[in-house]
Symmetry: C2
Subunit: 272 residues, 2 copies
């Protein structure tokens, strides 16, 4: 793939994506030029554009991008902004949205698939903004601040709860757990990003969207994290934000079955 | 002033200001090359950098920028981002912050100083995120969505309340009102931008920081909006989000006295 396609050029000073985070993005797993979960990515981008009132990019143009990746695994990152200008926060009368994209070679964390990961709770609580919940927009300072809470490579992810005291997601992945024999995942009406792998699993499997307090995780039967780029990671250890151990889990047959379903959607291996 | 200084160049695709809104900005009124309320702008930018963990730009370099404006009124917009790269939300180990700025000729809304403005309540409620409250960061989608709620040029601003049901600010200005003979302004511990004109007035005058529900505005003795670029506007009419009239106010001597103090800080005229 090209390192210097004109499309991965930057944006001008007056771009509203830079000025206000006024835009959206997608990161898409691409294998041998073929995008995975493409319909879900396209649908989420279109929903996000509708939520912000931005004209969505042409679907055919978007669909032509992954092919540029050539062979092997890559990630396509697409950024759509409202474009330039306007008077302060007020968008221009006729905005011209700006599309930028970049293809990068990609190597998933295969060891995490097999052996699982340790995670911790984050101190930061996600604010609740229903007007932006679920949308993969460019206002991601909360995720950045949460990810800055730890640097140990032994901690793979941080779990985020809302100011209302409910589990939401991890900094860059969705969260699933098994409780009373059922897979569950947090509802995302008030905050969080509605992941495409999550959406695809919700359509195919019996996974309940529920509200749960973080303390209740210590009694779940299993816990895992997933997104459309990394696949599904079992959580084998959970720590508090100050590093105290809160739980340990073995990797169960039930997790391997869920992982198999998820990885089939991404062309990743299963360990059943 | 130059239209094409290299500093108002854009940012590359991988800049974290574009990717995540991972940065800060300031807009500074400049008269004949001299910045107004400069110490307040510098202090807020430095506080914001500390809140996000970004190394603040060199203060001497920043202080040299307004002089490039030449004669007349201008606005200096400064953007500081965490720079390029990192692994997803995780910043790079040694970030290299990126500084961009632009000088633009500026003409304040003089008619608003004298005759006052009509404003409305916005439907959108600001989420409460204490970790980012007061900071002029680049995650401004709420302001953009709120500003998109109306297009009538007869409405100069929209008032924003929090999800917790308290008045916070206007989309691009701070809010003040007079109640029981005292000037008051919303507390900003949970959301909102702590304006530099607001900070300068709080230091000099008896203005209380309080919590107030939007409905209580209908009984205040006067209401005004201000920022460091536009100065202070009296509100003469308030509408609900659906356009119903909620209140009308005459422009009082007390407002003119406050405006005189504010405008003295900005070199703007008074109408006492």
């Amino acid at each position: 793939m090209s390192d210097a396609a004109p499309q991965d050029a930057g944006v001008p000073f007056d771009d509203r994506g830079l000025a206000y985070g006024d835009g959206l993005f997608e990161t898409v797993l691409v294998r041998d030029g073929q995008p995975l979960l493409w319909d879900y990515h396209l649908a989420r981008l279109q929903r996000g554009c509708a939520a912000l009132g931005i004209t969505a990019p042409d679907a055919e143009l978007l669909a032509s991008l992954p092919a540029e990746a050539g062979s092997g695994l890559a990630v396509l990152k697409v950024i759509v902004t409202r474009g330039s200008g306007g008077r302060g926060y007020q968008p221009p009368a006729q905005p011209e949205p700006r599309l930028r994209w970049q293809l990068s070679a990609f190597e998933p964390r295969r060891e995490h698939w097999q052996r699982g990961v340790a995670v911790r709770h984050c101190r930061l609580r996600l604010a609740e903004q229903p007007a932006l919940a679920g949308v993969k927009h460019l206002n991601r300072l909360e995720n950045v601040l949460a990810r800055r809470e730890w640097s140990s490579p032994g901690i793979a992810e941080g779990l985020l709860s809302s100011v209302g005291g409910r589990l939401v997601e991890a900094t860059g992945m969705n969260l699933f757990w098994r409780r009373n024999g059922h897979w569950q995942t947090p509802r995302l009406e008030r905050c969080g990003v509605a992941g495409t792998l999550r959406a695809a699993l919700l359509e195919r499997l019996a996974i309940d969207e529920v509200e749960l307090e973080p303390a209740a995780l210590e009694t779940v039967e299993g816990l895992c994290l997933g997104n459309s780029v990394q696949g599904l990671w079992p959580v084998i250890a959970l720590q508090s934000a100050s590093g105290e151990p809160l739980g340990r889990w073995a990797i169960t047959h039930e997790f391997r079955a869920l992982q198999q379903q998820a990885h089939a959607l991404l062309g990743y291996p299963s360990y059943v």
